[in-house]
Amino acid sequence: MSRVGVFICHCGANIAGKVDVAKVSDDAINIPGVVYSSHQKYSCSEAGQKVIIDAIKENHIDKVVIGSCSPKMHENTFRKTIEQAGLNPYMLEIANLREHVSWVTADKDSATRKAFDLVKAAVGKVSFAKPLTPGQVTVEKRALVIGGGIAGIQAALDIANMGYEVVMVEKEPSIGGRMAQLDKTFPTLDCSACILSPRMVDVAQHPNIRLLTYSEVENVNGYVGNFNVTIRKKAKFVDESICTGCLECVTKCPLKKKIPNEFENGKAPRGAIYVPFAQAVPKVPVIDKEHCQWLLSPDPDTIEVAEGEKKPKRKCGVCQKKCEQGAINFEMEDELINEKFGAIVLATGFNLFDQKKYGEYGAGEIPDVITGLDFERMVNSSGPTEGKIVRPSNGEKPKKVAFIQCVGSRDEAKGVPYCSRICCMYTAKQAILVREKLPDAEVYVFYMDIRAAGKGYEEFVLRAQREYGANYVRGRVSRIYEQDGHLVLKAADTILGMPLEMEADMVILATGSIAREDSVALANTIGITTDAYGFISEVHPKLKPVEVPREGVFACGAALSPRDIPDTVATAGAVAAKVGVLFSNDILMSDPMVANIDPMICVACGACVEVCPYSAITMEEFRGKKFAKVNEAMCQGCGTCSAACRPGAAQLRGQTDEQILKSIEAVLQW
């Protein structure tokens, strides 16, 4: 018979305010197997932990139940505590009396009853706990950074500068991400490309960084310190090792004015062979196989023709003829790369809300209603208008420019109740740019609230208003329509409490940030979760802001939630620090609470092999007997196999069937 000690924590008034802790503690002593029971104000404090250690020693307690907050919070703390008292750290069970009882139960009596039930269950369960010992795994000190925007660039450079090897995977033909598309940055108005390009070059030239552009992560297996990752390197049809970046091919592509360039937000064309922008890194063009005439035309070898007739040739192929280096290779195929990494960094960034969802603002059909990103490209000297601010409808300079904030932000009806955090600032910046380039133009900004919480941000918005004369009007615009070559805005001035109508030549919609459309798929590939909007969920918003629920995987930047460049760079640096901490270990302790299959009971039905989401179970054979075996390093302890196993051979250590049944029994019996 085990000797169980029960410790009930007040958690200040958090638990004691709703649960009669003294009664629970007094009653607990009567539970069979319990030899000691007490309650105290803060069990997690140093003094509280000492009380537990002393009680264990004095009363020869060998198993411990602590009624406190969630095990997510302090299970590790108390495991260390009982270890100090000489017990195996896994001889501990936490009854969650805070999140599961006091915080969610209004009535004191029922809270106390429920608390006692949970304590009983915990005692029942811990009575059958067995000592566990963690295993050891080595750490592969290489990091994979997914995403080559400013977040990925910063994280990769920081990790590489610590002396660790980094592989950066970028989906697009060039790194640079969203920041490369921007013209100026708030609140200092320094040029985005000027501060970004040197870092892009640093990434390309860093001896510890290997850059894989036009590539995507296909599969992630393994566990912290030992991830096996499959990367698809899409065929560029241009041999990177030979190409000199002369771009002769790009200028000669017959489709060069035909395909909308994604980098220019579709407002300027590119060819089928292209580099997305002038400062692209690497400066190697890629051939878009969706559009290239050579690749789309049928392969002559597969066509059967009547004798004497000529086989049709492939179309075009101009780039191949023009390339003096002979770098164009139409035979190139996607390449699958398998590599091992110790840590994975997600820096996958964000998308912008689609203006088409705002029918009241013309749903993208009115040419003079553009988005903030369109404007960034327009005002940029290497953009489609070479930096001139003009009305897309007629190419004339606008005399009146209106900005509308919160388009796709703080709009529950459109599924985006959150604030995108960047639009107030980028609108103020764009208002300044309009007034700088077109001093005679009037600028109106329709806003709901101005959220300028950042260093120098409030001052920046006030500068836009006072120094640059941007007229801010509080109120959301209801509708935009065209009339006599102008746009008419039906709006309101909510300070005056009045509707108002205003004419404008051009409207810029401050579209908000949304998660990337493939963020959920990527999260599934990696085995992590996203929030309701598709942004990656962190472990704890305050205390673990860059960790995600799969150990060894970290996330930074706008992949987590909408954020601006300073916050993105800060989280990227934080991620690098976390990777550095992980890589400072040569050996990691693995969680012993994993599945184990008893080969004597196993009937080799294979049900567990099929259900295991981590492919951690394989079929083995020993002296003619087949049985399933768990790779304990790969097992994440989810317990699916244990539920699927009919004979009960698969058991999750620390959560065995016996323990679970005993805890149910305990609630029902005593």
Binding site: Q465, G469, N471, I495, M498, P499
Partner: protein, 189 residues
């Protein structure tokens, strides 16, 4: 004053806004419309529009602001100015707008306007205000002869309305203030 069903502001009227700025010595664009002036204003609860709306209309340069009673009834206590986070002297803004309104022939509160005129007249003549003639002039101006008598008569017997007024010592010198070039220039406008 009613603001009107829909304000069809095509644009900001920069001229009116600049004139208000010039006469008041303030920059109405400095106001970010927090409403603290209205919150502290002792007369705002009795007016057609509160002070921050006066400022908002001034920012638009809307001539609607000239029709407001608030601008006339501001008692220039400067509570607004004392507490304004942006150092905007709303009292001065109101005063400046009354000047423009008067010039345009829009007097939303004739009593307040008359009091102002008679008060300045009295001060101009005596170097200080003489209450009895001022009160009587107001009676004539407003044609309200019996109102306030319940207050006025006890005040009279307590000596608050002396029959003979006093003049200040150096009246001539004081009156130069009214005849200065600058004062004349503004008066002509």
């Amino acid at each position: 004053m009613v603001l009107g069903a829909t304000a069809r502001f095509k644009s900001i009227d920069v001229d009116l806004k600049k004139e208000i700025d010039r006469l008041s010595g303030q920059k109405v664009d400095m106001c970010y419309l927090c409403g603290k002036c209205t919150a502290g204003c002792p007369v705002a609860p009795y007016q057609d529009i509160p002070p921050h709306i006066v400022l908002r209309l001034a920012q638009w340069g809307s001539s609607k602001v000239l029709e407001s009673k608030m601008i006339w009834n501001c008692v220039a206590c400067a509570t607004c100015y004392t507490r304004c986070p942006n150092d905007v002297d709303v009292a001065k803004v109101c005063e400046a707008i009354t000047q423009i309104a008067k010039r345009e022939g829009i007097v939303a509160d004739p009593v307040a306007s008359a009091l102002r005129e008679k008060f300045v007249e009295s001060v101009k003549n005596n170097g200080r205000v003489h209450e009895l003639p001022l009160a009587m002039a107001m009676k004539v101006a407003t044609k309200d002869y019996l109102g306030d008598l319940d207050v006025g008569i006890p005040m009279f017997f307590q000596g608050k309305f002396p029959l003979f007024g006093h003049q200040i010592k150096d009246l001539n010198n004081f009156q130069k203030l009214f005849n200065s070039k600058k004062a004349k220039k503004e008066g002509d406008k």
